[in-house]
């Protein structure tokens, strides 16, 4: 009974997801055996630098990786117990835009330039619902108002909107069918700072109103702090640390996570130099054996390079993929 409850509780569960991009010459290991889970109504923040594989994870869940050169090599994505990877395409289409939606990074190019904005919202409604065209149009207009755009602008084209408004339209499209899961891939990175706050607030409001679960991909720790319940840190295609927001922020344990926080300049102090992490992320087509962070890690040992590293439990109960955890904790405490 307890088992069932435990499993039934996981709304979304990703197990050992592995994705490769390949050309004739080489194979890029974009996502390496990633596992995480998400409860209904919660928001998970996926954090990491550019190229870490966050977008690939999201796209794999929706199965909209590019046709050419990308492949889900292994793993399961269970949504309410159903494996999305194994689902036939036709059924998957029924899920896209309907049960799971995605908001993309660059609003400037995410809308079809030759289609009216309102129609683009109505389209997703029509795809997943029965009814008449007028019905869909009406609902699309409601969505527009919901995101703060006057419904008269239904017939306008994307080029007549500013960046921030375009992103609102995209949010409208994503939420039009009231999805259970929203994937937001850096939704505000391409916007300027003032608009960023607006859009994020909007997402937050709608999420709360509609009870949507969300995976929020970002590299901005401030965003994570405000909007996420749980955090997973992604490095070189793998998750190196995951836990609740409080756990990660109060007790970052993985050397990479520590470095991330360290790189954020302190507003209250007068610093001359920034403190980036030394070195560069590894070449994803040529990942080192063992821990991917080893070349850049102060606490690296021989054992780090021997084989795949397992997740270890930290003192406060969250997960960290490090085999030299005590040394790291001791070293950081000393600072």
């Amino acid at each position: 009974m307890a088992e069932l409850e435990k499993n039934a509780g996981h709304f979304l569960e990703v197990k050992d997801l592995t994705v490769e991009y390949f050309t004739k010459e080489k194979v890029v290991h974009a996502v390496n055996s990633v596992s995480f889970s998400l409860e209904k109504g919660k928001t998970l923040g996926l954090v990491g630098e550019t190229g870490a594989g966050k977008t690939s994870i999201a796209k794999s869940i929706l199965r909209i990786l590019p046709d050419v050169g990308a492949r889900i090599v292994g793993g399961e994505v269970l949504l309410d117990g159903v494996d999305l990877i194994a689902l036939p395409e036709k059924e998957m289409r029924g899920i896209r835009g309907n049960k799971i939606s995605m908001i993309f990074q660059d609003p400037m190019t995410a809308l079809n330039p030759v289609q009216r904005v309102g129609d683009q919202i109505a389209e997703v409604i029509a795809l997943h619902n029965e009814g008449k065209k007028d019905e869909f149009k009406r609902r699309a207009q409601e969505m527009l108002e919901l995101v703060g755009i006057p419904r008269e602008r239904y017939s306008e084209y994307p080029h007549q909107f500013s960046g921030g408004m375009k992103q609102r339209v995209i949010i409208a499209i994503a939420l039009a069918c009231n999805p259970a899961l929203l994937l937001a891939d850096e939704p505000t990175t391409a916007l300027d700072v003032t608009i960023q706050a607006q859009v994020l607030r909007l997402i937050g409001q709608l999420r709360d109103k509609l009870g949507t679960s969300m995976i929020l991909i970002t590299h901005d720790m401030g965003v994570v702090a405000t909007y996420c319940d749980n955090v997973a840190v992604v490095y070189a295609g793998g998750i190196v640390e995951s836990g609740t927001r409080e756990q990660i922020f109060d007790h970052p344990s993985h050397p990479y996570t520590v470095g991330l926080f360290g790189a954020i300049p302190n507003m209250n102090e007068d610093e001359e130099w920034l403190h980036p992490i030394d070195g560069l992320p590894p070449d994803p087509s040529n990942l080192p054996k063992g821990c991917a962070f080893r070349p850049r890690c102060k606490y690296a040992t021989e054992r780090c390079g021997e084989g795949p590293i397992e997740m270890a439990e930290t003192p406060d109960g969250h997960q960290c993929r490090c085999c030299n955890l005590e040394a790291v904790i001791k070293g950081e405490k000393a600072k």
Partner: protein, 319 residues
């Protein structure tokens, strides 16, 4: 938008005038003797001189240019052909429809075959479908039209007796000529469609469409194709313009008296009036084609439509 169209139409007048002056000047200073052409090599010098005088060929250049321009543009009197004595306006009015039908049907086949070929090639990029379609297109550009025309005639007219081998009449007379002439168009359209589609398919809004759960077929046709249309429309437009004057080979083989044969024969025989009027007509028709192409852009892409409308508005501000 109306302002834009009117402005474009008005521009055709200086274009036509410019073509007229240039062609007239070129043909006048071309080394050839109109009298000898008309009278043939069996005539004496005296005969030719009499004719030259009566045709006004010995008048000064600007007088002749002026006469020509007034006759053509004000009185719409295109005169008679020097060689055949046929009324040029009548000839053009008779021949233009045939060339038009031929051109339109050739273009229609090119579009109906070429664009799908390009789409298939783009979707199956790098795979067998892509290579096959591009091979077909390559064959289309390489195969000479006249060779293909004669083979088609041998197959369909002589061996199978399905279609007439030459001449004019109902629509069946235009089938073989259209098929023979369309290979070039298929090739260029297929290649342009393929490259346009490849560019568009990588766009973010295509990913958005897929993420909405749109059927793949609709993604290609409704979302991708519409955006890929702009360069394709350009190719169709220029191709149409080229076809109008360039169907001479097909017209000759199939004995279809059209604009192509009229103008090329006139150039070879230095039949000045026909060349001049023919060039002006073609220039005007081509301008129309370009206008329609530009209007199609506006119909397909609202950003371009906005551009046209703002062009008019800017003028008003300064005026």
């Amino acid at each position: 938008m109306i302002r834009y169209i009117i402005r474009r139409l008005l521009w055709m007048i200086p274009v036509a005038l410019g073509v007229a002056v240039i062609v007239f000047t070129l043909m006048t200073f071309c080394p050839s003797d109109a009298a000898e052409i008309i009278l043939g090599s069996n005539a004496t010098e005296e005969d030719k001189e009499i004719l030259r005088d009566s045709m006004g060929l010995n008048d000064p250049f600007f007088v002749r240019l002026g006469d020509f321009l007034t006759d053509t543009f004000i009185r719409f009197d295109f005169g008679k052909s020097w060689v055949t004595k046929a009324d040029i306006k009548t000839s053009i009015l008779e021949r233009m429809p045939r060339t038009f039908v031929l051109t339109v049907s050739t273009l229609a086949i090119s579009v109906l075959v070429g664009i799908p070929l390009g789409i298939i090639a783009a979707i199956n990029q790098g795979k067998l479908g892509d290579n096959m379609c591009m091979a077909f297109a390559l064959a289309g550009i390489s195969i000479p039209n006249f060779w293909l025309a004669l083979l088609l005639v041998i197959l369909f007219s002589v061996k199978l007796k399905l279609l007439p081998p030459m001449g004019i009449g109902g629509l069946e007379y235009y089938i073989l000529p259209a098929i023979a002439g369309c290979t070039n168009g298929i090739a260029s359209l297929a290649r342009q469609t393929r490259s346009s589609m490849l560019e568009v398919i990588r766009s973010d809004y295509i990913t958005t469409a897929r993420a909405k759960g749109v059927k793949e077929f609709d993604v290609i046709t409704k979302h991708a194709l519409k955006n890929a249309l702009i360069p394709i429309i350009t190719v169709v437009g220029t191709h149409f313009g080229r076809l109008l004057g360039g169907m001479m080979i097909i017209e000759t083989i199939f004995s279809i008296p059209g604009m192509g044969t009229l103008i090329i024969t006139a150039v070879n025989t230095r039949d000045l009036p026909v060349v001049q009027v023919g060039s002006i007509i073609l220039a005007i028709v081509f301008s129309f084609c370009m206008l329609i192409v530009d209007l199609l852009y506006a119909a397909v892409d609202p950003r371009i439509k906005a551009q046209y409308e703002s062009m008019g508005k800017r003028r008003v501000k300064h005026g």
